[in-house]
Structures are given as structure tokens and as C-alpha cells.
């Protein structure tokens, strides 16, 4: 092929009409060869050497067929596409979100609920009500070979499986169980079901956790659910107030009753002691009286009178034979007042 230095390109004869290729700069043949070899060596090196990061393993395929799995570290393989490496992060904990999407993770993560996420979270409960369930699945690739070669489009399939598992479990619980009392059980049952599906499908994934996030009644129904909570609070409050009343009144009544009993005991003691005292006094007196009844009786009478008469108000002394006094007595107003 004739060449002209820096002038014109080679002449090619096509169908008898010659035309000229654009001029090609002439290079020394040695440099060209050197460049080609250098390029070949570079490609050789680039396609031979590979590095597997600590959380990964490298799956090597030779002409498409699986040959080996390499652990983290620097490795060599056959070059030029004879062997290809696919790196699978087997140590990394992976996470999938359902019913919401983390827009920006951080100390205060931002979340959003695009329409397709809302569709994921809306589900029927076992009592034919509707709940909105958001959840996350944390998982790890356990078997890199199975992960790569058994199922196509693993993420999509895994989403389907997760939705099916959670819906199946939620479908067997009432809306109240889903929202309040059954959450932990549901998460656990869904995790087991999902793991069962993973094993069944040979997808090479190990579920580490399935956690229910926000679980709510649908928005239009939510006020009614809140009303129930309020009503329950009201009920508790009413009952507590009634008990407070009770606790205020009953112990007091018991105390007052006790007071009554104590007072009665006091009365009983007093009554008995007085009786004993009176009896004792009478008996002593009687002992002496018995020795000289007539004299004692008279003495007592006179003593009493001498004590009593001076303390009295009006004293009227009447002689049986002088009856004229009586009418005079009637004129006295005070007498009339006291003894009408």
C-alpha cells in the first residue's frame, strides 16, 4: 500500500474509480507496535485483576458457567471476558421499605408516601376492614450463587413475596389486632412466612427482621378510631372519679361508726361502774342501817331536811288548826308561776 508522508491517504480502487482516503499521519512502525502491545498489556491487567471488598464475595463465571466464588481481597482471573466477576454484598444488611420511602436518611430522616407506596400499604384485614400497614424488611444475601442464578429480577420478586406474606398474615387478623394488640405477632408470622417463601423459591436470602412501622386505620376512618380512644379514656376517668368518691366516703363512715361503738363502750363502762359504785355505797350504808334502823332512818331524814330546807325558796308552815293562811298564799304571784 503506497503511502505519502503527511500528504494523502492510500488510494483504493473501487469499481475502477479511484478515490483518495484522507491523509494519515505517518508513524514509525516500531512506536505503533509498542503502543498496541502496551494497550494489550493494559487491557490484560485490567481484565485480570479484581478486588473483592470486605462485605462482598466475587462470583466467577467462565464463558457463562459458574466456576468459583472468591472471598474478599485482591484476586486474578482469566482476562478478556473469558472469566467475568459479579460482586455480591453478602455481609451487608439490606433493607426494603413498603408503604413509604425514605427520601433522605439521617438523624432526622425524611419520609414520603408516593402513590405506589400507598397502594402497597392499603390492605384488607380479617374482619373485612381496611388497614394501612407500613413495614420494612431487613435481609442478607445468604447464598450468592442462588441469589444470582435461581431467580431473575430478585428485587421485584422479593417485593411481591413480601407484600403477599404480610397481606396473608394481616388478612388473618382483625383490624384491632393489626393496629394495636397483635402487631408483634403479625410481624413475626409475616417474617416466618416470608422466609418460608424465600426458601421455597431458592432466592438465597435470609430475612433478619420484618418490622411493622406505622400501622393505622385509613385516613377517612381515623377520627372515628381516635374517638374510641377518647371514649375509653372518658370511661376510665368516670370510673376513677367514682372510686375517688367512694374512697372519700366509705372510710369516713367506717370511722364514724367506730366512734359510735367506742362511745357506747364508754357508756357501758360508766354505767356499770356507777352501778357498782352506787351498789357498794348502798350496801355499806345498809350494813350500818341494819344495826339501828329506826334511829338511822330518822337521822337521815332530818339531815336531809336540814340540808334541803335552807336552800328552798318559800317556806310555808301550816298549822292544822289555823286554816286562814291558805287564802293569803294564793295572792302570791310567784307561786302561781311556778306551780300553776
Amino acid at each position: 500500500m503506497p503511502r505519502e508522508p503527511w500528504g494523502q491517504g492510500p488510494v483504493i480502487d473501487v469499481g475502477g474509480r479511484g478515490f483518495r482516503l484522507p491523509p494519515v499521519p505517518r508513524l514509525p512502525l516500531g512506536a505503533l507496535r509498542l503502543g498496541a502491545i502496551a494497550l494489550a498489556v493494559l487491557v490484560l491487567l485490567l481484565t485480570t485483576y479484581y478486588q473483592v471488598e470486605p462485605e462482598e464475595v466475587g462470583v466467577i463465571q467462565r464463558f457463562g458457567a459458574y466456576v468459583r466464588t472468591s472471598e474478599p481481597g485482591p484476586h486474578l482471573k482469566l482476562p478478556f471476558g473469558i472469566e467475568r466477576v459479579t460482586k455480591v454484598p453478602v455481609q451487608r444488611q439490606l433493607k426494603m421499605e413498603f408503604g413509604f420511602r425514605t427520601v433522605r436518611p439521617g438523624v432526622r430522616s425524611e419520609f414520603a408516601q408516593p402513590p405506589e407506596a400507598l397502594a402497597e400499604s392499603l390492605m384488607l384485614t380479617g374482619d373485612l376492614n381496611v388497614g394501612v400497614v407500613e413495614w420494612i424488611v431487613q435481609f442478607r444475601i445468604r447464598d450468592s450463587k442462588a441469589f444470582l442464578f435461581n431467580v431473575r429480577n430478585v428485587p421485584e420478586t422479593f417485593r411481591y413475596m413480601s407484600e403477599a406474606a404480610v397481606r396473608q398474615v394481616v388478612g388473618d387478623h382483625s383490624v384491632d389486632e393489626v393496629i394495636t394488640i397483635g402487631r408483634a405477632d403479625i410481624a413475626l408470622a409475616a417474617k416466618e412466612e416470608l422466609q418460608r417463601l424465600c426458601d421455597l423459591y431458592g432466592i438465597g436470602i435470609e430475612i433478619q427482621q420484618l418490622v411493622l412501622q406505622d400501622v393505622n386505620p385509613p385516613d377517612p376512618v381515623r377520627p372515628a378510631f381516635n374517638e374510641v380512644n377518647q371514649a375509653i379514656q372518658e370511661k376510665e376517668r368516670g370510673i376513677n372519679e367514682a372510686w375517688a368518691d367512694y374512697n372519700q366516703a366509705v372510710p369516713r363512715a367506717k370511722g364514724e361508726a367506730e366512734q359510735l361503738v367506742r362511745a357506747a363502750e364508754g357508756y357501758a363502762l360508766e354505767r356499770e361502774n356507777r352501778a357498782k359504785g352506787d351498789a357498794s355505797r348502798f350496801e355499806s350504808l345498809y350494813e350500818e342501817y341494819r344495826r339501828a334502823p329506826e334511829v338511822t332512818r330518822r337521822r337521815m331524814y332530818l339531815e336531809t331536811m336540814s340540808d334541803l330546807v335552807p336552800r328552798l325558796g318559800k317556806k310555808v308552815i301550816v298549822d292544822e288548826r289555823a286554816r286562814g293562811v291558805l287564802p293569803l298564799l294564793q295572792l302570791d304571784g310567784t307561786v302561781k308561776e311556778v306551780k300553776p
Partner: protein
């Protein structure tokens, strides 16, 4: 010119060589056609393979399990509730040759699956009550006291089939057809079941009404319980007071009785003297300065007033 010829020949030889080898990946299987006619069997072993150059063509197919996402169908259940039923399935190309002949490629396969799985889903859903499709067992719901006795009537319905069995039924019927085009269908599951918009609104209304009932009952239960406690309070207060009164009266009565016995024993020794003694005592306290006495000179006290001899 010979040099150009050499290059051309070399290129040709390389092309021939390259077109006589092909690779099959771990995830693939292939069939070879010669002038459009399949020759040989299915090549399922991954790795490097040889074929006749130019005249034989390689057709690669997926060997892995493939996903299938059914269309969400608006279907009435047997109890006439309109729902969206969305299924997914798992399938693979089992008989590659037949698959190639029947549907040519994956898109064709998906489209046949659409027809079959969606159709069977429709049939199955329409022949069961909604509750059968939603629930999978007869487990009893756990309920808190507030919810006792309130809840959808369906909550107590007996499940005969359940979600899993219905999915199995769809799978059973669909997987009988799919071998016709070389497809093995191993799994059909309900991904989503939702009410259609109008039914959903009705369900929301029902849920609201149900909650209101629960709230109402909770309130009135609270009032009832409070009234009961207040009644209990009345009762306990009266009980305490009256028991106290009763004990007090008993104590007093017994004390009175004992006192009476003591008095009777003492005074019974001489009732006449007691009468006198008590009279004297009473006179001492019963009369005061406001009393007026009329004393006869015949009385014991004054009999000496008139006459020292006392007559």
C-alpha cells in the same frame, strides 16, 4: 493485493471461528436452529459450546425462575363484593423447544400467562366469598374488652378454603394449561386484594359506624360502672353506719342490763330502805330555791316547833 486478501481471509476465518462457538450463561439455556429449524436438543449446561458457523443460529432463553405480575382485575366475589385482585406467579421455561415453537419468546409467554392466570383468578375469586379470599385460617381474633361483641359479622364466619387454598386452585388449573407452551408454573399467590373505590367508601362508612358504636358503648359502660360504684358507696356507707349503731346499742343494752342486775342485787336486800334512801337523795337534788314547800307543823321535821313533847 495479496496482503489485503490475507487480511480479508484472516477476518473471514476469525468470523467463522467466532460464529462456531457460543457461550451459555449459568442463567440461560439455548436451542440451535438451522435455517430456522431446530436441531439438537436444549443446551442447558453453561459454558463454551460449538455449532456450525453461519447456518446455525443460537436462541437463548432464561433458565431462572421468572416473575409474573398479573393485572389487577376488578372482580365480583361470590357474595357480590367488588374487589381488585392482584396476583403474582413464578414460572420458568421448562420445555424450551415447545416454548420457542409456541410463543417464540418471553413476551409471548407473558402474554399467554396473562390470559390464563388472570382468567383462572377471575374464576376462582368469583366462586368464593370475600372472607375466604382474605383469611387463611379459622383462628379466633384476640379482642380487648372494649371490642367484645362488636365487629364485622364476618369475623365469625367459618372459613372452608382460605386464601392459600384458593391460590392453589388457581395454580392447579393454570399449571395444567401452561405445559402446552412449554411453561412450568409453580406458584400463584395473591399479592394485593383491595376493595374497589365505591365499595371502599361503603366499608369506610361501616368502619366509622362500628367505631362509633364501640365509643358509645365504652362511654355508657363507663357511666354505668361509675353509677355502680356510687351505689356501692351508698351501700357501704350505710352498712358501716348501721353496723356501728347496732354494736353501740347492743353494748349499751348489755351495760344497762348489768347495771340493773347490780342495782337489783344491792337494793333487793331491803326495798323499803332503798325507797327511803333514794327519796332522801332525790329530795336533795329535785328541789331548789324556786320551790315552795308547805310544811305542816304535824310533820316529823316541825313537830317540835309547836310542842317540845312532839305531840
Amino acid at each position: 493485493m495479496t496482503r489485503i486478501m490475507t487480511i480479508i481471509l484472516g477476518l473471514l476465518a476469525a468470523t467463522l471461528l467466532l460464529s462456531s462457538v457460543y457461550t451459555v450463561s449459568e442463567t440461560e439455556q439455548a436451542i440451535i436452529t438451522q435455517f430456522g429449524k431446530p436441531v439438537g436438543g436444549v443446551i442447558a449446561t453453561p459454558g463454551l459450546h460449538v455449532k456450525l458457523p453461519v447456518i446455525q443460529t443460537v436462541h437463548r432463553f432464561e433458565k431462572r425462575w421468572l416473575e409474573f405480575d398479573g393485572d389487577a382485575n376488578e372482580i365480583p366475589t361470590r357474595d357480590k363484593k367488588y374487589i381488585w385482585a392482584d396476583t403474582y406467579a413464578r414460572w420458568r421455561i421448562a420445555d424450551t423447544l415447545r416454548f420457542y415453537q409456541a410463543v417464540r419468546d418471553e413476551r409471548g409467554g407473558q402474554s399467554r400467562l396473562d390470559d390464563i392466570v388472570d382468567g383462572e383468578t377471575r374464576n376462582a375469586v368469583a366462586s368464593f366469598d370475600l372472607i375466604e379470599i382474605v383469611r387463611s385460617s379459622n383462628r379466633a381474633f384476640a379482642i380487648t374488652g372494649e371490642l367484645e361483641g362488636i365487629g364485622a359479622a364476618e369475623a365469625t364466619a367459618k372459613i372452608f378454603a382460605g386464601r392459600d387454598k384458593i391460590a392453589q386452585q388457581i395454580l392447579g388449573r393454570a399449571s395444567k394449561i401452561t405445559p402446552e407452551f412449554g411453561v412450568e408454573l409453580v406458584d400463584v399467590r395473591f399479592k394485593r386484594i383491595n376493595y374497589t373505590e365505591s365499595v371502599q367508601q361503603a366499608v369506610f362508612q361501616r368502619m366509622i359506624a362500628e367505631r362509633k358504636r364501640i365509643a358509645e358503648r365504652s362511654r355508657s359502660e363507663g357511666q354505668g360502672r361509675a353509677a355502680e360504684i356510687r351505689g356501692q358507696k351508698e351501700r357501704d356507707v350505710l352498712a358501716a353506719t348501721s353496723v356501728g349503731y347496732k354494736s353501740a346499742q347492743e353494748l349499751k343494752g348489755k351495760a344497762d342490763a348489768r347495771a340493773t342486775a347490780i342495782y337489783a342485787r344491792a337494793y333487793g336486800r331491803d326495798p323499803g330502805f332503798y325507797e327511803f334512801f333514794k327519796s332522801m337523795e332525790t329530795l336533795q337534788t329535785a328541789l331548789d330555791k324556786d320551790a315552795t314547800v308547805i310544811l305542816s307543823t304535824d310533820s316529823e321535821l316541825l313537830k317540835y316547833l309547836k310542842d317540845p313533847s312532839g305531840r
